[in-house]
Each structure stands twice: as structure tokens, then as C-alpha cells.
């Protein structure tokens, strides 16, 4: 069924009785060409691109809970391509281009809204670092504009320009940055994959990975054994546990990142705004809620919930930056599990096991990477060689020291990225 405004009209006139399931709930088969472990944003997009780009449809996505139930459904929905290190630069640029055609591609309105992102800076040193970033973005073919203080004031008149602890010196404006409706991204990919024949198997937890003579043979699940020629692991928040099933230890420590949304308010914040001194970023959703977040809670955790000190810090930063939001009331807070790597950049690579691939370590960058990650991971699985946009995301870079992508410059302490 194709979605369109006309269809909505027609169904509205006939009692909305004709709408069909967005995806099937098939029983798992005993044998697939490819099994993707993880039905989150990245797993679903991987399956979608395996089918669409590579014609591989004998594919199952195994999800232990419900699809889209992980970080794709609990983030702050920011989409951007504003990295400055080689590897990240081309990858996120690639991902953003996929975003820009996503609605037509999926026939699903993911509400990708390029309302512009502004990273504020508060010192000459920060300005220079952002200039380096902006120049890289431009040389990659993305867009960046360096705003001075007055330029920022024009775009964001509600910031505290009068009595701030850390004055705004300017901002790096990324007009193509923005937001999207997070759940819809998962659903759109799920529907697209399903329509092309991929089996989405919910409530199916992988309990083991079958390996013989260094080659993957399939997986054990709570719904029985499934044979597969190739297996892709793409399970943010559980990467360590699933990789351990294949005897691997990953360079990952899992952390909580909290996020917040306020009650609905009339439009007051147009852009995505990011503070440079206090880990705070905010945008306003189409429903009117202010969606915002800050830094990790800092301790390793799988709890999907955080504690008060970071909540308070984030809100103090909010008050420092935009004192007009004081009377916005936080409606809900939640936590995602961030798989933090030693350099803050992800991994899309083969493993030491033939036919076993891994896509992990997205730190906070996972949501905007959903199209790019799936696209590149599908390429890796289908072709057995990396996609050019993701060829730097190697697992062995930490051991060798080649191609580290430490955008924060904080070194191998996982929680500092």
C-alpha cells in the first residue's frame, strides 16, 4: 500500500478501514542468507538496504523486544553532518544525503526537518576549533557558516547576551542540520524492508552465535535455531554481550545519556541549538515540546535511566544559555544506552570470524547515522568489503593507532567523548 495525501482522504471518507499492517509478523524460517541481530534503527536500515541496494531479501531481522525499541526511540532526534576528522566527515556527509531523500525513498514521512543547527562558541580557542570543523564540512561538500556574535543574535535573539557566565562569541551554523521524527525512521525502514520481503521477527532474542571452524553458521534464539550464511551484529546497548557470544571483547563501555522533553509550547525555538560550555542542546518538536539533553551521566550503566546531578547540570546550562525557558516544564526524562568507544567514533567492520560482521560503538552519534550506517553495513555484508564512506571505521584502529577519530580529543577514556 502506497501512502499519500490522497490515500489519507480516501480512507478518511471510508472509516479508515482499509489501512493494512505496516509490516508483517512472520514466523522465523530455519534458514536465511543473512541474519541481522538487532531490530533498532541501524538493523532495520541495514535490512532495508540489503534488499533495496543488493537485492538480498532472504534476510531476517531478529529483535528481542519490539522493533525500534532501543535508542532510535529514545534520543533527541538531531540529524547533522558536522564532523571534522577524516572518516567521520565523509560518513556523516553520506548519511545526511540519504536523509535528504528518505521520505520519497521510504514512502514514509519521517518529518526530516532541516531547520538548521547552531553550535555556539565562547572563546577564541573554541572559535578556531569550530573554524577547523566548518572548513572541513565545506571541503567535504556539506555546509557551514561561521557566525559572529551579532550573527548569532540575529538567529537566536533569546540567548543570554547581557549577563552570561560564558559570553557567546559566535556560532557555527549548519543549515542542513535539523531533526526528524525518531520512531517514524524505524517504522519507515521496517515497512520498507518488510515490503521487500525481509522477515522482521520481534520478541526473538538471540542467545548464541554458532561458529564452526572460524565461520559463522547461524544463531540460537528464544524461538529456535536459525541458520545463516552471514550474520550482522548491530545491537547498540548490548554490543558487548552479543559479541561475547562470538568470543569477542569490544573496545566499548556502555553509558547512560539522558534526554528530556517539556510540555508542549507554542513555537519558540526554531533551530537546534548547542551550548559550547555546558553540554546542553535543545530543539523544539513539532508537537511543541522542547527536546533537550546534555552529557552522559558518566558511569557505565545499562539502566536506561539516570540520576539527578546530570539532570540538574543540563537544566542549569539551559538557564545559563537561554533564560527564557525557565517556565517550560519538564514532562519526561529518559535514558539511552550509549556504546562509547575509546575515540568516540563507531565501528563498522568484519570480525575475525568469517561471515560475522559488526556495526557498533555509535556513542551519541547513532540516530543521525541510521541511514548511513545501514547503507554501509549492508554494503559490507553483501560485498564483503567496506563502503568507501565507512572504510575508516575499523575495529583494529585502537591497537594499531592508525586512523583514530577522537573528535573531542579526550583520549581513551570511554565516557569522555
Amino acid at each position: 500500500m502506497r501512502f499519500s495525501g490522497l490515500r489519507v482522504l480516501k480512507e478518511g471518507l471510508t472509516g479508515n478501514k482499509g489501512w493494512r499492517p505496516h509490516w508483517r509478523d512472520p514466523e522465523p524460517k530455519s534458514d536465511y542468507d543473512i541474519v541481522i541481530i538487532g531490530g533498532g534503527g541501524h538493523g532495520l536500515s541495514t535490512a532495508y538496504y540489503l534488499a533495496r541496494e543488493h537485492g538480498l531479501t532472504n534476510v531476517a531481522v531478529l529483535e528481542k523486544g519490539y522493533i525500534g525499541g532501543g535508542n532510535v526511540g529514545r534520543n533527541t532526534t538531531i540529524v547533522r553532518a558536522n564532523y571534522f576528522l577524516e572518516g567521520n566527515s565523509q560518513f556523516y556527509s553520506h548519511s545526511l544525503k540519504l536523509w535528504e531523500g528518505l521520505e520519497e525513498d521510504l514512502n514514509y514521512n519521517v518529518m526530516h526537518s532541516q531547520r538548521g543547527l547552531i553550535n555556539l562558541f565562547h572563546s577564541d580557542g573554541q572559535r578556531d576549533a569550530f573554524a577547523r570543523r566548518g572548513n572541513m564540512m565545506n571541503s567535504q561538500g556539506d555546509d557551514a557558516i561561521l557566525l559572529d556574535r551579532e550573527g548569532v543574535r540575529k538567529e537566536l535573539p533569546y540567548l543570554d547576551f547581557d549577563n552570561p557566565r560564558f559570553p557567546v562569541y559566535g556560532g557555527l551554523f549548519h543549515p542542513r542540520g535539523g531533526t526528524a521524527r525518531h520512531d517514524a525512521v524505524a517504522w519507515g525502514y521496517a515497512r520498507g524492508a518488510d515490503q521487500r520481503g525481509v522477515d522482521l521477527i520481534q520478541n526473538c532474542e538471540v542467545t548464541g552465535i554458532d561458529i564452526e571452524n572460524g565461520k559463522v553458521r547461524g544463531v540460537q534464539t528464544t524461538r529456535g535455531a536459525i541458520r545463516a550464511k552471514k550474520v550482522g551484529i548491530v545491537v547498540a546497548g548490548r554490543s558487548g554481550q552479543v559479541a561475547a557470544m562470538a568470543g569477542m571483547r569490544l573496545p566499548i563501555e556502555s553509558h547512560i545519556l539522558q534526554a528530556f522533553v517539556t510540555e508542549g509550547l507554542k513555537p519558540c525555538i526554531h533551530h537546534v541549538v548547542s551550548f559550547g560550555m555546558g553540554h546542553f542542546y535543545m530543539s523544539q518538536s513539532d508537537k511543541g515540546g522542547l527536546v533537550f539533553g546534555g552529557d552522559l551521566d558518566f558511569y557505565a550503566s545499562y539502566a536506561q535511566r539516570g540520576n539527578l546531578p546530570m539532570k540538574e547540570h543540563v537544566m542549569e546550562a539551559g538557564m545559563a544559555l537561554m533564560p527564557m525557558i525557565g517556565k517550560a516544564k519538564v514532562l519526561r526524562s529518559w535514558g539511552g544506552i550509549m556504546d562509547m568507544t575509546p575515540d568516540g567514533s563507531p565501528i563498522i567492520d568484519k570480525t575475525g570470524i568469517d561471515g560475522l560482521y559488526i556495526d557498533c560503538g555509535w556513542c551519541y552519534g547513532g540516530f543521525k547515522a541510521v541511514p548511513g550506517s545501514g547503507h554501509c553495513f549492508a554494503h559490507l555484508i553483501a560485498q564483503d568489503r567496506p563502503h568507501a564512506a565507512a572504510e575508516k571505521y575499523r575495529l583494529d584502529r585502537f591497537r594499531t593507532g592508525y586512523g583514530l577519530m577522537d573528535e573531542e580529543g579526550t583520549g581513551p577514556q570511554h565516557n569522555l567523548h
Binding site: L13, D25, E103, M111, D160, G264, G326, K327, Y402
Partner: protein, 974 residues
Amino acid sequence: MRIPGKGLIDETQVSFRFDGHAYEGRAGDTLASALLANDVRLMARSFKYHRPRGPLTAGSEEPNALVTVGEGARRDPNVRATVQEVYDGLVARSQNAFPSTSFDVMAVNDLLSPFLSAGFYYKTFMWPRAFWEKLYEPVIRRAAGLGALSGEPDPDQYEKAFAFCDLLVIGAGPTGLMAALTAARGGADVILCDEDNRMGGRLLAENEEIGGMPGHVWAEEVLDELRDMENVRLMTRTTVTGAYDQGTYGALERVRHHRPRGPLPKSCFWRIVAKRAVLAAGALERPVAFRNNDRPGVMTAGATRAYLNRWGVAAGKSVVVFGNTDDTHRTARDLIAAGVHVPVVVDNRHDAEPQGDYRVIAGGHVVNSSGRRGVEAVEVAHANGRRESFACESLAMSGGWNPSVHLACHMNGRPVWNDAIQAFVPKPGMIPGMTAAGAANGTFSTHGCLEDGQQAALDALSDLGRKAEADTLPPAGDAPYRIRPLWAVPGRGRAWLDFQNDVTVKDVKLAAQENFRSVEHMKRYTTQGMATDQGKNSNVAALAVLADATGRAIEETGTTTFRPPYTPVPIAAMGAGGGGIGFAPQRFTTSDAAARQSGAPMIEAGLWYRPSYFPKPGETTWRQSCDREVRMVRDAVGICDVSTLGKIDIQGPDAGAFLDFVYTNMFSTLKVGRTRYGLMLREDGHVMDDGTTARLGAHHYLMTTTTAAAGNVMKHLDFVSQALRPDLDVRFTSVTEQWAQFAVAGPKSRELLQGLLDAFTPEDWPFMACGDISVMGVKGRLFRISFSGEHAYEIAVPSRYGDSLYRELIARAETLGGGAYGMEALNVMRIEKGFITHAEIHGRTTAFDIGMERMVSDKKDCIGKTMSERPGLMDPMREQLVGLKPVGAVKQLTAGAHLYNAGEEPVRENDQGYITSNCYSPTLDTVLALGFLKNGRARHGEKIRMVDSLRGLDALCEVCDPVFLDPKGEKMRG
């Protein structure tokens, strides 16, 4: 309509305004009760269809009656009229309606509802692509949202505070009061919190006796006793909003929402640490979904009784009652006793009997309501299907009660289904240390609540190691709770579940039809439970509808996750203190006042403030001042406060060995009275920090760190000492704040010191010497070190003398043709000398990259050494530190610009490096830059292209050594 003689609030009149009209209320009224007393029941419009709405409840869970309170910068959107207390001068207005709540043009959405079904927006607005941001989204955004922020900085004061107790009791109804009383009598420190402005909970809303007296009187007696106890703290208007780890709770106190402006903070966010907690938060009543159940005048039966019994307000002259428990009859009795007409009581239980003088339709259902901007009549279906209409001004409905399990679920625990009460109850142990009791635990009789509260307190006392005895409980009602499930009345039309978000039974069914069968999918697809009440009124009924639509039991369908906060918390409250300069501590050097007095603009350096430059008369740009200051230092002498650099005093028999381990180079071999530059790596082989370390004695060193890294280095030293090398006997003390330290730099620095120090023989102070001195009678320290490349010293005195010494230094420098210099000049001079700062050691550079790989001693192990030898960190094609000078027509070099081979396109694939620092050098009369270039050390002399697309610059420059000035260091050594 106010009923004379009814209610618990006093007769004091207060005047307030709503939507421009003046009204009279009574002290103790909420805005909702006061408006209902004035027969105003249309207070708001719904989110999506802009349906007219009145209050559904009498509490913080209110989904409909959200208003904006106050004016100007103080306007406060989305305030529950059911919570807001009226006071003289209160100004409130409705929101989300244009031009007004009684005539809202957006109500056209209601007519379009067939096309606005659940998730419709995922299926449309996709074409043409550009229209999403330009047309569809702006329209949607303007229609959405509830109230509006003022757009101005919030001028109110807020505060945060900590509190500690043995037992936190959450909720001051019969359960909480009994728990608090028992625990307090047992000697425990008790905090009793209630979100209401008056404690007593449902005892204030019901005709209920305890110990032979009205419940509210009993409550007042208990409160009187508690007030007199030193170990009890009563916190009204305080909502416990979240349960966190190890007995930490967040709570929001509304300190000044019920008063006009004044010195009080608006609200206070509490962090309460409790050894034990009792969740006595009561229960919330469930509305029933039937066609047009959202009309103003339709409210929960519990709210109807609360308005009547507590505030003396009847929801209408005639009220139909509809429900599935004995509360239905309690409602009818209370109404009739107050003289309100009850045309009929509709009880879905087939065996229902009247409990008073009123008509009962047993086994019946209300199937529809009608009326213009409010209910005027309801249609009832008898058990046999016969329909009958009843005119009424209000409908009191009850689908049963949901225990307020929310806080118990904040640590991811899931409540369990209790079939007997058709509701979820907490599982014990979901929050360590917390016990749910009373209605929050599914105990609905008053007696049961008292018993539960007492037992929970006794258990807590016993956990706390206190002896405790159970007092005899006062007699109270103990009727059984009999319920017949009543979620959604079958029938055509729209029946509301989530009132605010306009989610109807049809929407949930459509979600199931489209395979959004998981409760999380249904929620996210329909927005059910995502409104400001977070589903408090609707989630369980929606679950029941979903369970029915998918052929599952409710318990099998499961709940969505309960997340903090329990009720919304203003950002200003949880972020109290963060606004303005309060966001982070301010650190001031001892010369700060003098620098400001001389007109220096101060800039932030971490938490510190440092002078940027010192403008002289006639100088109109920072560059003029900076250039002069550089020349002044190079020609005469300059003074600069360098106290912000971290200073760590290191003592102990193993101090030298310890420094050898944390620095790449050797310090155990440094002579006493000498200083050495040191490089510190992270364990992954990248540079952490640099600085000089002086040896003051055999076992005594003084380490200097950069300003930015001071805290981190201290932490690192503690880590190495405690966690890696506890075998080494060494102690650290930060002395950053003890010493005020000033650079005295320039060819005349020696001359300046000669007049200042009590005994100073320059020959005794060769380059890198250090030691004690006496400055005008004050003991200080002198270091012959230089960050400017000049003959220079740093002089340190105890901070109390810092201001005085600084002024003295400036005065003396001025007589020598010198003076103060700021950060700009300091930066220029260090670039001229190729000295690095965190612009260069930005966390991705190695000793190899900055040309200091020879400083990594091969005679010993040190932090970072092994990993710095990874092949990828020694690769010649890495970006290496170089100097750059413009050689083309464009004479500008800018930090952040990227480097390309001359003649190559400035695209990422051709990237060769970037610029980290740049300046105009008045000494060399040229622009200079430091940067990193692939294989840069081998490329000195090469011409490369610099492109700064952000600033529109494209320059040709020459690669050179990063030391531009005095490469042999003759000036600073001489």
C-alpha cells in the same frame, strides 16, 4: 455553583481575573473550583481537535484545564487550574485557542477528524519535498503546543536544596498521615510531603469518619501532633517527582505559586535522601471512554465529590452519575445531601441497588453526551439495550481507581496486575527501601489505608533498628471494593481516552489494525499517554482497549515505562542557580581588580578571568594595544599575571621517581635549584599536558601545569599515586591559590628586579634557575623561565600580597618603559617562539607530532610510553607541527583554515593539514601561523595552499620551522 455551608475552606473573598473577566473566589479555592463556583466550566481547548474542555479532575493529573497564569515575563504556561490556588490579584487566561476558548477557529480540526486519525502525518505531507519545512511543518507547529513562553528571561527566583531523613512519607492522606505519625512516635526523622496545599488527601474530599470524627478533623489532629515534633518536617505543596538510586528522591516545592510577587523563591527543587520511604500517594480515578465523553461538565466522580465536599462547589444543578463501584453511590449520596439533583445513577454492575433516594439503572452505560460547549444531556443504554436520555449539567463518572504506582516504577520495575481491583499495583522491592502502602498499593478502604500506613512505618522503623509498637488504630470505614471492568462503552463515534492529545478508542484500534500491537508502538503511534498527564488518566483504559483489539489480556499487554518526573518540573527549578553568572564559579586572580581598573577587557580562561589587553589612550583596536605590548616586552619589560597556571607542590622520598614515571623526561636527575620543561602523556601515548617543574629540595618539587589542565593533572597524579604506584612515597598539595605569580619579561626584567628584590644577584639566576627570594620583606620564590622568548622571570609571593606586588611591578615597569601585557600579546609572543598551548596539544597530538619524540626517555618506563610506540602514532605521514608564513598576495592566515598542496582543489580528499594558531607578529612584521601538516617536518620551504572557506580566504604560504624568532634561544638564556 457554590453551595452555602458546604466545604472546608473559609469565607475570605479573593478577587482574580480569568480571560479578562473579574471573579470572586475564596481563599483555599483552586482556580478550577473558583471558576466552577462562578459557573465557568469552559477553560481550555484540546491539543489536536481543539475541542472545548472543562476540568476533568481536581488534581495535578488534570489533562484539560491548563491555563496560563501571570503576565509579561512572569507568565507561566500550562498551569493546572485544578492545582493553582487563587489569590487576590491572580490573573489567568486560557490557551491554545484563537481568538478565544468559546470560539476557536482551529476547532475546524474537529470536523476534519476522519482525516486526522492516528499516525496520519506519517502517510502524507511528503510531496513536494520542500513543502515540509516551508508549509506543512510551520502550520502543524503553530497549531500544536499548548501555552506560550513569554520569550523573555524568567525573572523569578528559584532555589534548590538538600534534605535528609530516616523516613520519607510521600502523600499525606490517611495512609501517609498514619505512617508519618507511627514513625515519628517511634523516634525516626520523618519528612512528610504532599503535593496539595493542605494535607489530608482524600479525607478532605470525602464524607468519611475516622475515630468517630470527620476524616478531615482527624487529619488535622494528627497534623497538630506532627507539627509539634522536632523530628518531623511537613512539606506541603511539595511533589515528590522522582525516585533515584540509593534512596535519593527529587521533589518540587511550589513556594510562591499561591502568592503575589515577593522575596520568596517561586519554587524549590529538593533532593531528599531517605533511608526508607513509604509511597502513600493514593490512587487516581479513571474516566470512562464513551462517545463525546470529553464535554465540559463531564468529570470524574472523585473530582465531583472533591469540589463539593472540600470547596463547596457543585459541578451543576443536576448531575448524572456513572460508574462501576460503590463510589458511584457515594457520589450520588453526597450530591443529594447537598441539594443537588441526581436524575439517575448508571451503574454497570447488574446487581447494583440504590443506596439512597435516587434512581439506579443497573447494568447500564452512558453511551453519549450532548450539549453546546458543555454537557446538557446524556444518553443511557439500559442492560437490555433500551436508550434513555437525561438532561443534566454535569456527569460524574468513574471507571475505578488506579493506584499511583509511578514513583515505584522509576527504576524500571513493572507493576503487576491485580484482578480484584482491575488495576496495576507495585511489586515489593521495585525501589530499594521504598514500600507502597494504602491506595497506592491497591488498598482502598480507609481502615485498610490506616493499617497499611502503620505497618509500613513499623517495618521501616524495624529496618532502621528502632523499637516500635503499634498503637491501636482508630476505627474507620472498611467496606469492600467491588468493581466490574468498565473501560470503553461500545458504540459509534469518538470516545476519548487521552483527553488532551485527543486519542480515541478508534485510534488505538487503528494502531492495532496497522500492527502497532506492542503497547510501546501503540503509544508512540497514537501519542496515547504522551500528554502533560503522561497517561495518568488514560493509560490503563487504553491498554484495555489495545488488549481487547489484539486478543490479549491486559497483564499480557503490559505497560509503558513510568519515567520521572511524576508531575512536570520547571527547568528554572531544577536548573536553579544556573542563570547569568551563576552557571559556574568565577575565579579571580589577585591582579584582577588592578587589571580592570586599567581598562583591560577580561576574558574567560576556564573558570578564570584574564586580561585580554591593556588599552592606552588613543588605541582604538585590540591589535594596536597588542602590538604595543609585544614591542614593549621585546624592547623593555612587561608584566603578566600567570597565577592561573596550576601549581602542585610535590614532596616525599620518591618524588623524583614519581615524576620520572608521569613525565616522559627525567626529573630525578634535575639539580636542586633548577627548573625543567616536562611533557606528560596520557596512557594512550597522546600528549596530556606540559609545563615546567622546579626542584626546590632533594625531596621537594614544584610542578606547573597549564591553566586548562590543572584539575585534570592533579587528578591524574592522584590516580598514578594511589592506583598505579602506591609503592612510591610521595605527597601532593595544590598551591595554585597560595601563590600569586607574575611573569617579568623583557630585556629590562633584570633591572626591574634589582630594585625590587631584597638581595638579587642576577648571576646567581641563570636560565631555568629557581629558588627562594625576599620581595620587599616578603618571602617569595623566583623562577628564571620564559614563555615569551625574552630574558624573563616569574616571581611568586603569597596571594595576600598579590594585588600589592602586581601594582608595584607595573609601576616599576612603567618607569622602565614597560607595563602590563595581556593574553593577546602573550599569545603572539609564544607563537613567535613556536611554543605550544592547548591549541596544538588538543588531545590528538603525540610527542612525535610536535617534534618532541626525543623527550620520551628510553631509559625508563613512563605513562603513555608503550602506547606512543604504536605504529599509527609514529607514522611519518602524520600531521606534524610546522610554522607557516604567507608568501602570496593574500597576507592573512587564519586558525581553523585547512592546508592543501598548491594547485590542488580544496576538497576533503586533498586535505594536508590545518592551522591551529595565528597572529600578526609586530616583531617580524608579518603574519605567522602554527599548524599541522602531513609529514610537515620534511617539507620546510615548501609552498602550500591555505583555504578558509568560512572566511573566504585562499592564501599561499611557506612551510617553515615553528620557531620563528631567536631559534637558538639566546635572548631568553642570555
